[in-house]
Structures are given as structure tokens and as C-alpha cells.
Amino acid sequence: MISIQQEDFNPGLEQDNLSKLTGTGAVVTFTGLVRDENLGDDVGGLYLEHYPGMTEKALQEIIDEAAARWPLQAIKVIHRVGQLHPGDRIVYVGVASAHRRAAFEICEFVMDYLKTRAPFWKRETTVDGERWVDARESDKQSAERWYEE
């Protein structure tokens, strides 16, 4: 259900696992990739740090909240840590539900909350050296919309 790992993952395999329950009508997946550019600078690498123990708990709470709000059949959250490079997969959220709107909403909700509540930090390598990535206001706003409705 939740995996924090250094190694890569296989979205096709995860998709198959999520599609097994009868009654599932919709599978929505999000895969985040390392981009080769951020704030106008070329990015050569990305190092992901996390808070072992707390990260898993934070993700479980986000999943529990999603399961309380929507009809959720199956979910898988994978987040990689350690040294990554442009094009590498960073994060995966796969959701199975009976209906499409619920599957989309759960997947977006989990990604929004993961971005603002789960203890991960990115340090990127540019030509000017290494720098910790700043949190973005747009991510905060994206997470806050779930309480506006």
C-alpha cells in the first residue's frame, strides 16, 4: 500500500495489481518524473531525503482520510528517496475505485496532501551547485482547496 524505496518501480505491474478487484471500474494513476529544468536552471540531479517512520505514518493518514471521503477500492503509493536523475520516476499514486470521479479525486487529493504534509525534501544539483528546493505556494493552495468545498 505504501512503499518508500531507493529502487525504481514498475507502473505497469502496479496497474495490474490495482485492477484485480471485481467491482473496480476506474483506475487512475499519477507518476511524477524528475524534470531537467527548475526555475529556469538546468537540473542535473535530485536528491530525496525523508523522515523514516514519520513519512510512512503521514502517508497512511492521508490514505485513511481519502478512504473516509470517497469509495476507495485499492491504492498504492510509492515514493523514491536517494539520488535521482532527470527522467527518473520519483513518485507513484495509483487508485482503484468503482467510479471515475472518485478515482480522479482520490489520486489528486493524495498527491496534494503528499506535497504539503509528507516529510520529503528535494535537493537539486545545478551548474551553480546544490540547493534545497523551496516549497511552492501553488502546492499549498492546491492542498487547501479540499477544505473549501
Binding site: Y51, I90, M111
Partner: protein, 83 residues
């Protein structure tokens, strides 16, 4: 004994990823702990007084002051940037 953790940019800035304080060495509340740690130097003061600094008490995020208990794990870290 309580355990205090620092992550990411704060860990680097302070040159410290964790420290332990024995019973008697730590104060009663989070706010008092902030004051005590700030005395370790200008970098410490900056980190502990930064309004964006997030605090986790026993691995759960909190925005309020709390009473410190023996065995607690308290973490200070910058806004998260995963995903």
C-alpha cells in the same frame, strides 16, 4: 531522555541531524525548548525562530505548543517538498 531531529537544509545548516537530552536537561514545553536550543548560536536561533519551520511531535505534525514527556521524539524541518 528525549530525541531531537533536524532534516534537510536545517540538518546541513546546523551540522546536526540529531541530539539527545537527558531528563533534567530538557525544559517542560516546546516553546521553552526552542529558546534553549536557540542559545546554541545564531544558526540555531534562525532555524528555531523561522516562522516556516515545521515541528513534528512523536512523528505527527503539530502547530501548537506542547508539554514534553520523557521518551519524546521532536523534529524540526523546513517546508516539505516531496512528490
Amino acid at each position: 531522555m528525549i530525541k531531537i531531529l533536524f532534516f534537510a537544509g536545517y540538518r546541513e545548516k546546523l551540522g546536526c541531524d540529531s541530539l539527545k537530552l537527558n531528563s533534567g536537561e530538557y525544559p517542560e514545553t516546546l516553546e521553552a525548548l526552542r529558546v534553549k536550543l536557540s542559545e546554541k548560536g545564531a544558526d540555531w536561533q534562525e532555524v528555531l525562530e523561522d516562522k516556516r519551520t515545521l515541528v513534528a511531535h512523536n512523528q505527527a505534525m503539530t502547530r501548537k505548543d506542547f508539554t514534553i514527556s520523557e521518551g519524546d521524539e521532536i523534529a524540526f524541518f523546513p517546508p516539505v517538498t516531496g512528490g
